[in-house]
């Protein structure tokens, strides 16, 4: 099952740490809030993703294993 990043938008305070630590899949909008790349996280980048999650000062970012559901 692929890993996905999730943001709790109520907690996110635009600290931008996540984009700094995981620029491969996280960009920032003009107000400093993260824009997630919708692609699943490639296994070789999982460590970066974990680092970003751990560094978020408001614990707004989480990694979730999501079963791929047909949409």
């Amino acid at each position: 099952m692929p890993l996905e990043l999730r943001i709790n938008w109520i907690k996110c305070d635009a600290h931008g740490m996540c984009a700094e630590l995981f620029p491969e899949l996280i960009a920032l909008d003009e107000w400093g809030y993260p824009i997630l790349d919708p692609r699943p996280i490639p296994p070789e980048l999982e460590a970066h993703a974990r680092r970003a999650v751990a560094a978020c000062p408001t614990c707004a970012l989480a990694l979730e294993r999501v079963p791929r559901r047909p949409r």
């Binding site: 943001i7 709790n8 938008w9 109520i10 909008d29 824009i35």
Partner: protein, 428 residues
Amino acid sequence: MSTATLPRILTGVPANGFISFAQHEAIHGAMPVLSRSRHDNALDLELTESGLRGQGGAGFPTAIKLRAVARARGRAVVVANGCEGDPASSKDRLLLERLPHLLIDGALLAARAVGARDIVIAVGEHATHAERAVEVALSERHDLRSGSPRVRVVIVPHGYVSGQENALVNFLNGGPAKPTAIPPRVFERGVGGRPTLVDNVETLAHIALIARHGAAWFRELGTTEEPGSRLVSVSGAIAYPGVYEIESGAPLSALISAAGGVTTRVQAFLLGGYAGTWVHPELGLQLGLSDTQLAASGATLGAGIVVALPTSACVVAELAHVADWLAGESAGQCGPCINGLAAIAATLQGVQHGTAGDAPLEQLARWASLVRGRGACGHPDGVAQLVASALSLFAEEFADHARHGICDGCARRRILPVSSPLARRFAA
């Protein structure tokens, strides 16, 4: 489609005041008692076969929701959601104020099916007569004996998003009427931490009738995917604005004729309210009013809302006005919603007055796609939909305004309603 007749829910709706319990029983018959055991939940079965979907806007299958609550651990709570945040919608208010017994029936039936002992009827504060109508209706219910669920009526502060499921549950738990992070889902942990079934009041009214007449009866009207009838609030340049019950899938033209036709030339219909989609009148009138049929035009009926915008109105001014209100209705919790909606609203004002900077329409389109999916609730997505569909249908009008500023139509009275809680409190 068949010869089954309408109205169903709106049968006997009084022009003033509300229906008595005796009148209600005379019209619909007594509320049936449906069997419920571990293996046999008659209401669940009927609802599954009926194909009923939630009428609050999301359109989720009602039976699946009910089953999730019935199976969750702990004593369940049923919430009848009559908050109705969209100012262009008035069907829930009509049900609460004129036909309270139907939704009370639905709530009692649902409570029995999920094993709930508590029912909350949540009334939007703008529905000024609803609390009294529901309280009187409850006092008339001699079928509410000891052992029946406790029913309380709660007034919910005005807000476009306060009727959102999580916001409503948060409010009932003593918090502000603002959406919360998901999970937990309310069907697992809702009011008082208990599994909670939140159903729109129209959905409950349909449940009351399906319990009486069965799924096959419900399916005598409507389409295979979206059976039955539904309530639609019609307003704008319409001879008799109001709430109409239509067969699901009926063409918009039939609804408009039922409402006395348009009063002047119409430049567009807004379907689905302020999270909805603008459609060209010629195309629009032929559209079948079910989400499956509307999907081809990128539209939905949302909570059942149709507004006819006359050609005399300035669509840019209308949208700027509504977007400004919607930005103010952000619950102020999520960055992209707060900043994105404010930017969209400010830029629309600039476009209307011809004072926006470089490429404002491209900016608007970009923000509309930027805010989608980036909030704790669907509010930014709804605004994005409303704005993006206006930009594409009215590209010329917007370009014209961006270049030349205000037009004659800008000075006319706005057609699209917004509501200020203060104004309403004084008017009440």
